[in-house]
Homo-oligomer: 338 residues x 2
């Protein structure tokens, strides 16, 4: 198996990307296509001791900047590491695509260059949120599809179901919710009200409306929403987590005794940070694409890159797309298929 | 001035409501209509020493349960403390309405019983989020209007502008953003894309798109969004804040040294909690209603009730609705008026 890694994407690229690929290859024996500047990557690969591993460099002249609009990348950056890595999957040379680069561009490249899996209209990006109960809650879609129709949300539900069951393995019959603003049926905007009866009609384990607070309780395995709402929730949560730690730090700085206290609490705070760190889960998969596509944080370190590569492998090994097709067949009523 | 207080609404009602009204009346000299069960309220008022204050009891036979659907309350709970308190404002007997009860019902009662201010189609509920910079960012609407048109968001912007300038007094020319999923113009869903040019056309200090993370940076004074997205963000943030503190507590429990550390940090953690506590800001106003309507947390204590009553007073004293009308006149282009 070969995974195509955008070696130039991410805040710490290409160093952590090369290191992550080496760690991954040593641990699993699987191959990696390192896509990026040949000379730089060759030097780093040698420096970090990656010569005798199944790691191949594929040259790409350009890189994608963190602020470049996705539409420009798709049309004009055909020689970029991100684009070429995705193309390796489309051409069947690699089985999966991993990038820590510009998230919007990586999503667009996954959708349009790798392409949607058969029977899927709209791939959706899934993020596993840490919860009070320990097991994650998957929110899908968090940004791949801004304006959605009810049909798309139902497909996200099947993708989330398959992800929880086959990859995260935290439930055999995942509890599915739809993100809304009130628990009772009939609460929500037009999209929610129109999607609700379709989810109820399916053979999914649909529990009903979930509220914002339910993302972190662990009461749901999967919560579906359109990509606009999901992206706002993701970015709000990430930043709030960091700001709360900052605010606590600020308060702690105000007294000497508090500083000692914080020092003694350090191991506990570090364990907490690890728990709340989305990188632990190995990045966010774009579900419903032909090969598996994993998009990880711009600030990913070598461990996060390794994890993302491993998650990509699991998608291939579990035959995720076949399972997804089977589940669509099994769980959805005829009028929603095809 | 008299404020109508739903004395039976809230988790700790009617005790904290009566106590809060007494604190408020002692501090400001203003009057309160305590609406609820006559006999209970009379007893409490005497017990807590509120006899010689301008506090009048208005009897209401029923109360509104925390889970009752707003539509039922509007149609069938005309003898409830919430409904009668709102009616006192509609009839001009009170100048403002305050409730810590069922939020959805309190919003509905404010919208339909108190009613919208002249020239306002859709009142919007505003919440002041604590930020890194200390001064709050106001998010509007957080739940009063589920499906919105661009015109409504523009009016929310003027309401937010007026709230920041006249009540919070944290900026003379508030920076306005629209909640979206990317900074550049053209990013977002249909509603955002259609609202953007209207905000640009206005004389508001419109800065552009805000992302989820911008809610807590303090870079914006007001961020507008539809009530569905705003409500999801509000509930996500509230619960994440509490869950982070819980997770830290859990980690701390695992070691004796950490516990000592936490003990030393306690004053700092308490200061942080106060900073992050929305009740400090005196509840959320529903902007654009005839009288001023303040909806505060179900778990409001006597201090929060007092603050909410004080905020209600400020709305009346600053002639908020007149300022709002002036700002609509001054800041919006002719095609958006009336």
């Amino acid at each position: 198996m070969y995974i195509a890694l955008d070696a130039m994407g991410g805040d710490l690229a290409p160093h952590v990307n090369v290191k992550g690929a080496i760690l991954f290859s040593k641990e699993t024996g699987h191959g990696v296509y390192l896509v990026g500047k040949q000379d730089i990557l060759e030097k780093l690969l040698e420096e970090y001791g990656g010569e005798n591993l199944p790691i191949q460099i594929v040259h790409a002249e350009e890189t994608v900047g963190m602020d470049e609009p996705p539409s420009i990348v798709i049309r004009k950056k055909k020689n970029s590491s991100m684009y070429i890595a995705a193309k390796l999957v489309r051409e069947g040379k690699a089985q999966a695509f991993v990038s820590a680069g510009n998230t919007g561009a990586a999503m667009a490249v996954s959708k349009f260059i790798v392409g949607a899996a058969p029977g899927i209209e709209r791939p959706g990006i899934a993020v596993a949120f840490p919860t009070k109960k320990g097991k994650p809650t998957v929110l899908i879609d968090v940004g791949a599809n801004v304006d959605c129709r009810p049909r798309h949300l139902v497909y996200f539900a099947v993708m989330g179901h398959t992800y929880v069951k086959e990859i995260l393995k935290t439930s055999d019959n995942p509890k599915i919710g739809i993100l809304s603003i009130g628990e009772e049926e009939g609460k929500g905007n037009e999209l929610v009200k129109d999607t609700y009866p379709l989810l109820k009609m399916s053979k999914l384990n649909f529990v009903g409306n979930a509220e914002g607070r339910d993302i972190f309780t662990g009461d749901f395995d999967v919560i579906v929403c359109d990509g606009f709402v999901g992206n706002v929730v993701l970015k709000t949560s990430e930043s709030l987590g960091m700001i709360i730690l900052d605010m606590i730090k600020q308060e702690v700085q105000k007294s000497f005794i508090s500083k000692i206290g914080a020092l003694l609490m350090l191991p506990a705070l570090k364990r907490f940070k690890k728990k709340a760190d989305f990188a632990e889960y190995g990045g966010a998969p774009l579900l419903g694409t032909k090969g598996s596509c994993i998009i990880t944080h711009g600030r990913a370190d070598e461990r996060a890159i390794k994890n993302a590569l491993k998650v990509a492998t699991e998608f291939v090994e579990t035959h995720f797309n076949e399972k997804l097709s089977e589940n669509i067949e099994k769980l959805l009523p005829a009028e929603l298929k095809g």
